[in-house]
């Protein structure tokens, strides 16, 4: 099944629901065949591993990032009948309560939408070339060494 997707890397604050809404308007206007949309928004917290975090810097590998995210969407599309996928990921310096990532998936049925959204999110966390460096309120910097478990 041919699946549409849009992958956006942004280096300034973004409104995930606004972008999802715009994408739906521009890409699915007049479409009445999707019944299920599942999304996930990751937001920067002000704590991690017991410490207060003041800001974070998200580094990535630009040439690889979109390529890898496209591979992940390809794989999801092979597993589930998806109609559209939108991925937005922030890079650069970011502050608590700002959005880090949006994954939104459109499908005819809810099972596929839920499964695919979660699959893409987990794969993104484990394969997409992004790295977080936290600036603690103590003044110290540290690289996040691994992601928390998603299941």
């Amino acid at each position: 099944m041919d699946s549409l997707r849009k992958i956006i890397i942004v280096d300034s604050p973004f409104d995930p629901l606004q972008l999802q809404s715009e994408y739906q308007t521009e890409s699915m206007r007049g479409q009445t065949n999707y019944g299920a949309t599942a999304n996930f928004v990751g937001t920067m917290r002000d704590f991690n591993e017991g410490d207060d975090v003041q800001s974070m810097t998200l580094e990535h590998y630009p040439a690889m990032t979109e390529k890898q995210l496209n591979l992940i969407v390809d794989e999801a599309t092979e597993k589930w009948p998806l109609q559209n996928t939108l991925i937005v990921h922030r890079v650069g310096e970011i502050f608590p309560a700002e959005s880090i990532v949006l994954v939104a998936v459109w499908s005819a049925h809810r099972g596929a939408a839920f499964d695919a959204c979660r699959f893409i999110m987990e794969d993104l966390k484990h394969k997409a070339p992004f790295w977080k460096k936290e600036a603690l309120t103590t003044g110290a910097d540290r690289w996040v060494e691994e992601n928390t478990k998603g299941y």
């Binding site: 998200l58 390529k67 993104l124 997409a128 070339p129 790295w131 977080k132 060494e145 691994e146 992601n147």
Partner: protein
């Protein structure tokens, strides 16, 4: 043969630079150059760390993969996006 090497995140900071361009004289790579050999050559380290990730031309591969002239090889720690 010329290879572009990239380092990211904590690895970039440890190594102290983000990129190398390494030129191998033809006689040194008459047979083949693996990712692991490149790593040892470019960083001076003894071996390929267990949790080190590598991508050749922006796709994940393993330390035994063989390189070709012009490849872009990226070394980086476990990813932590999302």
């Amino acid at each position: 043969m010329s290879i572009k090497v990239l380092y990211f995140a904590s690895l970039r900071e440890e190594i102290g630079r983000g990129a190398d361009v390494i030129d191998f004289p033809p006689e040194e790579t008459s047979s083949s150059l693996s990712v692991e050999q490149l790593w040892i050559n470019s960083t001076g380290q003894q071996s390929f760390p267990d949790n080190l990730l590598v991508a050749v031309n922006q796709e994940y591969t393993n330390p035994q993969a063989l390189l070709a002239d012009g490849d872009e090889v990226a070394f980086f720690p476990p990813v932590t996006g999302g």
